[in-house]
């Protein structure tokens, strides 16, 4: 094990400290990550594109700022991986779809602009289910990502690439997006930390839109503090996103450093657990609640009856927005253009239909058609209209629960990592993976998933915290407390085995 490998093992905060102390350089740390990507990612498939040259150039600039004692941010020089749903100048942005193969955007997403401005070298773009539609990263047009805990299993999705890269220490930090759980569920399945900030807390500008009223970008890391540090870099008002919240970022870093649950009221959501949840998942969850109780939290049970219908409402609202958002892929201005076979002088409409058939994968087509159906006249009120009302009930349930509790807690996902292919032919079984994460997206409230230990199958389990709108700091406070208690219990962090190194050799 060389010195550079050790650097890849550091958390973002540890690396930032080492850079500030002049003990290492960003170039060395970035190279350590690139070496690890080179060694392991042939097996894992977590990156769709690696930008070694760009990352090393950004790292060299960070080192100059550090030596001049004028770092651009606390994370200046700490490398980051970015989900391939965010636009990046100079790097392809495919959204995991053939329809955008090779497309290089002419502008950066605001999140990317902020990463660059804060001095974080961007290692590359991470794999995802096509257009972020899926819960296993098997729906990527460029091949699946594998779970570093067991390469026969999926890392969850849609952000399986970011989660696997961080779990395998290919990157200390990554960016994900979460429309129904795509940051938190992969976090649970790979033993990493994932945060979906309050809707509007992080700009959506330059992020390929899936369901605009649900999409939210957020941090993917190995520790709660790292997530908070990254959250602070990417969060805050952006005039380029009209739904961006015009208010300061909640004090997330301070909360992550505090981690004190004494006197905190924690609500266990009755409807998110028990039946349908794997026994090992339920057991780790209950132990986490017990630890929080011992640390002085008051645990109450809260009931959110409409959560039982959140999944159904989500699978109407989301595809409806998808069918509208993905209309932009029309083969006219950018992306793939395919001409229909056997048609002389085809019309724009025929080219559009042929391109969308060739460029979109099965799950994307399924959701577009479903959304087209739900929005059809005659069905609109029964489906989309009703779903919007259920959405209001979900938000109301959250409001009532937060009168009784400061934060809510539940298992993040109903199971541990499942085998590749296991749910691929059963869309409904796949959709159930997001049963506990979806309510937060419908209501817009923030959520965080934290590793809670291993289940009976030796695979990681996630525990999820939920907080009221714009109270993201509460997530970090509660999660930091639980993280500390768990680390004391385990005697160290929960890390995915590095055994994949042998596999790739």
């Amino acid at each position: 094990m060389g010195g550079t490998t050790d650097l890849a093992e550091l958390t973002g905060a540890e690396l930032a400290d080492a850079l500030a102390a002049g003990e290492t350089t960003s170039v060395e740390a970035t190279r350590a990550c690139l070496d690890r990507i080179e060694a392991l990612d042939g097996t894992l498939g977590s990156f769709l594109h690696v930008d070694a040259e760009g990352a090393l150039a950004a790292a060299a600039e960070a080192d100059e700022r550090r030596s001049a004692a004028s770092p651009a941010s606390p994370l200046d020089g700490v490398p980051v991986a970015v989900k391939d749903l965010l636009c990046t100048v100079g790097q392809p942005t495919t959204a995991g779809s053939r329809i955008l193969e090779g497309w290089v955007p002419p502008y950066d997403a605001t999140v990317v602009t902020r990463l660059r401005r804060a001095g974080l070298p961007i290692l590359g773009k991470t794999n995802l289910d096509e257009f972020a539609m899926g819960s296993s990263t098997e729906h990527s047009a460029y091949g699946p990502t594998r779970n570093p805990w067991d390469t026969e299993r999926t890392p969850g999705g849609s952000g399986g690439g970011s989660a696997a890269a961080v779990a395998a220490r290919l990157a200390p930090l990554a960016i994900g997006t979460d429309t129904g759980g795509s940051i938190r569920q992969p976090g649970a399945l790979t033993g990493t930390v994932g945060v979906k900030p309050t809707y509007g807390g992080v700009s959506r500008y330059g992020i390929v839109a899936m369901a605009s009223s649900l999409d939210q970008a957020g941090p993917v890391t190995r520790t709660v503090l790292d997530a908070a540090l990254l959250h602070e870099v990417i969060g805050g008002h952006d005039p380029l996103d009209s739904t961006s919240i015009d208010a300061p970022v909640p004090p997330v870093v301070e909360a992550a450093r505090r981690g004190d649950v004494a006197g905190l009221r924690i609500g266990v959501v009755k409807e998110l657990g028990g039946e349908g949840f794997q026994s090992g998942v339920q057991a780790r969850f209950e132990e986490s609640v017990q630890l929080l109780t011992e640390a002085g939290a008051t645990v109450v049970e809260v009931s959110c009856p409409s959560f039982a219908h959140a999944l159904a409402a989500y699978y109407l609202v989301m595809p409806s927005e998808v069918s509208s958002n993905l209309a932009r892929f029309d083969a006219m201005r950018y992306g793939l253009r395919v001409f229909p076979e056997g048609v002389d002088d085809p019309s724009a409409e025929q080219v559009m239909a042929a391109t969308r058939d060739a460029g979109f994968g099965d799950e994307v087509k399924r959701r577009i058609i479903l959304g087209t159906y739900a929005l059809s006249s005659g069905y609109y009120d029964a489906y989309y209209g009703s779903a919007q009302k259920v959405r209001a009930l979900v938000a109301r349930d959250f409001g009532r629960a937060f009168e009784q509790a400061d934060v809510l807690v539940s298992p993040t996902a109903p199971t541990t990592a499942f085998r590749m292919g296991e749910k691929l032919d059963d869309p409904l079984a796949m959709y159930l993976q997001d049963v506990a994460t979806i309510p937060a997206n419908l209501a817009g409230v923030p959520g965080l998933s934290l590793p809670a230990g291993l289940a009976e199958d030796g695979l990681p389990v996630g525990v999820q915290f939920l907080a009221p709108l714009q109270a993201d700091d509460r997530l970090y406070n509660a999660a930091a407390a639980l993280e500390r208690l768990l680390l004391e219990k385990w005697g160290g962090p929960l890390l995915a085995p590095s055994a994949t190194e042998e596999v790739s050799a």
Binding site: P106, A312, I369, A395, G444
Partner: protein
Amino acid sequence: MSVEITRDDVAHLAGLARIQLDDDELDRLGQELPKIIESVATVSQALEGAGEVEPMSHPTPLRNVFREDVVHECLTPEAALAGAPASEEQRFMVPKILGEE
């Protein structure tokens, strides 16, 4: 609640969505869609006894967002056209849009 969606319905929806599905895809979606729709149709039952509920389109209250009408940097024509499948004279070149049969 059982849902009737025929293969022809799927073909019609695909036409509306401008996706030229092949026969296999139509067959498969014709099987899958009714099951998915049946499972999400429970939303209407969820509302029984809930009284008047205002539909929610968005998690946070939407308001108009204004800015000063000032000129600022934007994409050059070259950058805007860089990803186009075809372009000519600083314009997107598209297949014929008139004279369809």
